[in-house]
């Protein structure tokens, strides 16, 4: 199927669920900073949405990155809560990462219940230091591991049952990846009061001498590479929801200015307004073209995907983030006082989009990584001529 057909299919399939279960209450969730209820997410499973991007071998839909990314884009378009596609995508990403370990015991304990929407996973990585100097660490005690430290910002952490956690090993400095459960003694999860994406359940994870049995080691060495591979695959997908929301903001602006008359003319007939819509359109479509290209590469439908650091994927996430902030700012200018009213939700979308500046590889770090990659690529091409 091409992108348009997948998008149409996803919209038709999920619109009723989103309109009935996600959009009502989004303002209240934003104000209170509460996350989605389990019952509401179970409805997503009943609608066939929840497991779509999860492994087929464990009962999931097995959608490839291209199909899944476009479905997330459409969820972002339909759902006026930017946290929703983000939370759905992180749960699927963790299920896939655990499944990729190729262990039947982990599939049975974690992945199958995740597909059934009975168990939620989160990614616990950043602790305020670079990964070669993490303060959060693990030490061996017989066959078990003892985990210490704190992970500062865990997306979906507030309702997670299991955390894919990266910890420095005392001595070697290597990172180990442990599956730490929310009810393990010594674990505490504290919601973090954040600017946007306030229903995404961003939380800190504290580990106070948490004992983890050997069978819950997901990766026993080179956790840095495990994390970078995971983040590389996740980078484009996590931004797809924002791409859909940009389109929704754009349409909302046209609709509003269609109905606004100044000096006897509809505002959409004014040339400066038309030019602004032209800029917004170019921003959205260029971000979409790059994103779909990135997803096709990631799905193996186009060549060239680099599993450790894919510059096209990084550029897609970078571009969506920048364009989303630009377009929502333009929406503020176009809508005037009307846009400043909270009910219009533009301010919420701006706050949500700001979450992308730091999440999934901060924009500034990606700029450096992309620049280094591009310079190196140029030198290699020059050498080959």
């Amino acid at each position: 199927m091409d992108a348009e057909a997948i998008a149409k299919h996803a919209r038709a399939r999920f619109a009723a669920y989103v309109n009935e279960h996600v959009n009502p209450g989004s303002d209240e969730r934003d104000r209170a900073g509460t996350t989605f209820s389990r019952e509401m997410l179970r409805e997503a499973a009943r609608a066939g949405l929840w497991g779509l991007g999860m492994p087929k071998a464990c009962g999931g839909g097995g959608a490839n990155a291209f199909e899944w990314g476009i479905a997330l884009e459409q969820l972002g378009y339909l759902a006026d809560d930017g946290s929703f596609p983000l939370v759905v995508s992180i749960r699927a990403a963790i299920a896939n990462a655990i499944h990729n370990a190729g262990r039947a015991d982990l599939d049975e304990r974690y992945v199958q219940p995740m597909v059934r929407c009975e168990l939620f996973g989160s990614f616990a990585y950043s602790d305020g230091a670079d990964p070669f100097a993490f303060n959060s660490h693990a030490e061996r005690d017989g066959k078990d591991w003892i985990a210490h430290g704190e992970k500062l910002l865990v997306t979906g952490g507030a309702s997670a049952d299991v955390f894919m956690t990266y910890l420095r090993l005392q001595g070697s400095g290597d990172l180990i990846v442990l599956l730490i459960e929310a009810n393990d003694p010594g674990v505490s999860v504290t919601p973090v009061d954040v600017t946007g994406l306030r229903a995404a359940g961003l939380s800190s994870l504290k580990l106070d001498g948490v004992r983890i049995p050997a069978e819950r080691v997901l990766c026993d060495e080179d956790g840095v590479s495990h994390a970078q591979r995971f983040l590389n695959e996740r980078r484009t997908l996590l931004a797809c929801g924002a791409l859909g929301r940009m389109q929704a903001v754009f349409e909302m602006c046209i609709d509003s200015l269609d109905q606004t008359v100044r000096y006897g003319k509809q505002l959409v007939e004014m040339q400066n307004v038309q030019a602004t819509f032209g800029r917004m359109y170019a921003g959205i479509e260029s971000a979409r073209a790059l994103t779909h290209f990135s997803l096709r590469r990631q799905a193996g439908l186009a060549p060239g995907f680099d599993p450790m650091f894919d510059p096209i994927g990084a550029a897609a996430k970078y571009t969506i983030s920048e364009r989303a902030i630009e377009i929502s700012t333009r929406a503020f200018r176009l809508l005037g006082g009307k846009g400043y009213v909270r009910d219009q939700r533009i301010e919420r979308y701006v706050r949500d989009f700001y979450g992308l500046l730091a999440g999934g590889g901060s924009q500034d770090v990606l700029e450096v990584d992309l620049g280094i990659d591009a310079i190196s690529h140029y030198h290699r091409m020059k050498q080959a001529r």
Partner: protein, 88 residues
């Protein structure tokens, strides 16, 4: 042969972008590099001695597999080490 570094790894090589070592193989040159900058051992290699997958090495522009460190090198050869590390 010459190593060329950038970005994340610069601080582990005391911000010297290029470093030269007399060596017959890439592995031998890396040993010299690690002897000069011991903190690189844990950054480049896992506890069991494998090169971390997150590092991409290019010999004169051609990407090297992790099993190609035994390749012979000469004075004019350049190995570029690229490491893109981002947070979550």
């Amino acid at each position: 042969m010459k190593f060329r570094f950038s970005g994340t790894l610069m601080r582990f090589v005391e911000f010297e972008r290029e470093q030269e070592f007399a060596a017959a193989t890439i592995r031998e040159a890396i040993d010299g590099l690690v002897a000069k900058h011991p903190q690189l051992q844990n950054v480049l290699f896992t506890a069991s001695g494998s090169l971390r997958q997150t590092h991409r090495l290019f010999l004169n522009g051609d990407q090297l597999g992790n099993d190609e460190l035994a390749r012979a090198v000469g004075e004019q050869d350049v190995v570029e080490v690229l490491t893109a590390i981002a947070g979550g």
